[in-house]
Amino acid sequence: MNTKLSIQNMNQKISGIFRKNEAVSVTLSVLLFIFIILATPYALDPANIDALQTAVAPYGIISVGMMVLLISGVFDLSVGSAMCLGGLVAAICLTIGATPGIAIIAGILAGMITGLINGLIVEVAKVNALIATIGTMYIARGISEIVLVGRGQAGYTNFPESFNHIGRGQFLNVYFMFWIMVALVIIFQLILKYTKFGRQLFFIGGNYNAAKQLGINARRIRIIAFIISGTLAAVAGILVTARAGIANRYTGVGANMAVIIACIIGGGSLIGGQGSIIGAIAGMIFMTLVSNAFNLFTIPPQWQDILIGIILLIVITVDGYISLSKQKKLGKF
């Protein structure tokens, strides 16, 4: 096989696709934002801006990790459970007297371990990512539940103020968690575009076997991607727990689907090999704006699902159609 040619092909595929993916979700978000601002004065109300930030940031952070995974050709359904676990571990540390610093590290560690386990099950034991992460989702959620037995509805509370401040504090009127998200977006967007690791992620997602033949250690890279996903999920969990001042069993429920949907709208694909961090965040911003708009205009929430479902269908179908036409032009099909 002419490896030079295939690297070239891969590179072409990457640069061409980059442009398209982000365009959709960014455009949608911008349009929607403008629409909302024009349609109601409450949109720019400080309370609303606050709500937007704290809604986007946690899931946005998780989306960064999820997009990294999607690009490499897999995904992680356990992020919601990892999110809960991360916050819970931090909360427990605080309750037994640890400093916020230690608690945070412990929580992040919990996320890293979850990610590592996912990575090992998928890449070493060769269990399909869907099944593996459903399994770890159940297991992590189960562990959370067991730990919370007997603590009542509230779970763990009464954290030191310094800890809560992490989730509630702002810098220049923007929440810390939002800054963290922005920083992560920038860092990972740069990693994807300009580092070898980033290129390799795309190769693996585009054609796993070809990537291995080119000498890329696909297994190790995917495991790293899983660890990133788990870690970021835990980070989001810690932030959410800090802000709420409570660690209970409901954290992160439904997060996995919301994040995956945001990433798909943002240009990612469950098949792998495409996507961008900006797209993922734009997708998440879009979905949050939709939710916000529905609140502002008091539209019943189920229409949200209907709208998101329709948009997803359109995005997936158009993406598929474009991909099909491209391949037809190249002479396949």
């Binding site: 037809k328 032009k329 190249l330 002479g331 396949k332 099909f333």
Partner: protein, 241 residues
């Protein structure tokens, strides 16, 4: 002339080509990698779409180019990569054999087990396929036996025309010559063959006429005595002007 292709083309995949198969002939297509061989074979069988082109079989225009329709007209296809597509490596040999012939081997959609077993055995014997149990999986057979199995699957439907890709790729000499003998014999009995192969000696031994392809076009047609390695390679590799 029983099979004729005119103006078959597709943007970026195939320049317009035309060829024909006459009564009792075995024709071949030779080309190096990238010349368009596989494209032509897939297009005429409906596995790949075409932009333009008309195919006539026994004075009837083939309007619907799809495997089910072509199989109805007794045109069968042999793929060049049996592992990728051509054999179900992980299903029993009998299962593979019945695939192209399911309707014939079933009553009211219920498969007739004995008929299937008989049918499978018949071709195992006919081709001397080395296998101990009709439910053995192709992945456990040797390359030559796998290929023979794949050919049996097509032959069992009594085809009138077979589109064959690389009939003896990667198999031992013994099986190779058996398959060649078979093709010649079947041709004698009236089955048409269009053989796409990168194995020139094979084509020279089997075909009455050979079309040579290069860069997605037909660059030559050699008949009988005209066929020799020099001429063929000159056309196939040739200097790119």
């Amino acid at each position: 002339m029983i099979y004729k292709v005119e103006g078959l083309a597709k943007k970026n995949a195939l320049n317009p080509i035309g060829f024909e198969l006459r009564e009792g002939e075995v024709i071949g297509f030779f080309g190096l990698e990238g010349s368009g061989l596989i494209t032509v074979s897939q297009m005429i069988y409906g596995l790949e779409g075409k932009d333009t082109g008309e195919i006539t079989f026994k004075d009837e225009k083939l309007t619907k180019l799809s495997p089910p329709e072509l199989m109805k007209k007794k045109i069968l296809y042999l793929n060049n990569n049996r592992k990728k597509a051509g054999l179900l490596m992980d299903s029993g040999t009998a299962d593979n054999m019945m695939m192209p012939k399911m309707d014939d081997l079933s009553t009211l959609t219920i498969l007739r087990r004995n008929a299937i077993a008989d049918y499978t055995e018949k071709y195992i014997n006919l081709f001397s396929i080395v296998i101990s149990n009709i439910f053995d999986k192709p992945k456990n057979l040797s390359g030559g036996n796998q290929q023979k199995l794949m050919i049996s699957m097509c032959i069992g439907t009594n085809p009138e025309l077979m589109i064959v890709n690389e009939p003896t790729r990667g198999i031992d000499v013994g099986a190779k010559s058996e398959i060649h003998k078979f093709i010649l014999g079947a041709a004698e009995h009236g089955t048409g063959f269009i053989i796409f192969s990168s194995d020139l000696p094979e084509l020279m031994g089997l075909c009455d006429r050979i079309y040579i392809m290069k860069n997605k076009s037909i660059v030559g047609e050699l008949d009988g005595d005209q066929i020799n390695e020099e001429t063929v390679f000159a056309l196939a590799a040739g200097s790119t002007s």
